[in-house]
Symmetry: C2
Subunit: 192 residues, 2 copies
Amino acid sequence: MPRPSVREDIVVAALKTLHAKGFNGTSVQDITDAAEVPKGSFYNHFESKEELAAVALDRYWQKAQASLSLLADEKTPPVERLKTYFRYLAGIARRGEFRRGCFIGNMATEMPEHSLVLREKLSTLFVTWTQAIDSCVQEAQANGSLRRDIDAAAIASFLLNAWEGALMRSKVDRNARSFAAFEEVVFTALAP
Amino acid sequence: MPRPSVREDIVVAALKTLHAKGFNGTSVQDITDAAEVPKGSFYNHFESKEELAAVALDRYWQKAQASLSLLADEKTPPVERLKTYFRYLAGIARRGEFRRGCFIGNMATEMPEHSLVLREKLSTLFVTWTQAIDSCVQEAQANGSLRRDIDAAAIASFLLNAWEGALMRSKVDRNARSFAAFEEVVFTALAP
């Protein structure tokens, strides 16, 4: 009789392994080994590595989502919230010695061209993530602490993409310089 | 007797295959198959896939470097050059249907953690690339067409990383919206 926790063990192991070694660098066997379950059990729960990767992305996002509360904290001025949020993300990268990057960004770069499942999952996550930033940008524009001559949606989308680029660069440099440049340029240039 | 062109065939095939399928998604066999050379011949020329990937990055950069002339064209005002340059890069992505991204950015995201060869190669390329943008930013600041309250080096580094992030996003969305947001935010917010 299959252990009821096998599916969960596979998802937890998949998130960890896929984030560390990448989609193409991870085999189904790597995941079942890490989960300490028989390889054969994989296909009782998932049709493909792609399907599992989409589930792992949701799991990653569930955790990441908690930090979005930093963007919605009404006790803090909205521009400060944006700064705090990106500093928080920078802190995660620093504690991981800039080695792993963002699982969502990594998957976006690495997903196979034909994978509609992963592309649609990533697209949805980026939209949700952008909206959280967008709301905060709109508040900052409304209270006059962020320039208003650029559409909030364009700023939000730009910030998220630029952040992903800074993270990518931090993997190469193994330092926080790209985050410092991000903060300096963004918060100087977007000031009203 | 080995064909003298085998090494060159391998490099050309490696660049194409690694760019399309990623570092971890490409095996030595994939490369020798694409080059139409015997698998055994690989190790006469390269010690590892990593070493070959570093050579492929140099080859990619040799081609990419030609476009840096757009940033140095003294007949065009420097801010226009920056715009033209990023539009040129966006055009390449558009013609490739946003499928492949930047080989340098892809490798930065995907390289194995322990690969010092690739990390140092990528670091060097990013520095050279940033310098070309930096010179143009400095010219624009000097002639008063770009804001001067942010260090040119920070702007240049930020622009390149933000661009890489926009490219990553265009792979997910399969459209040019991230490039439009990049251009709108950057050239509005960095205006003097």
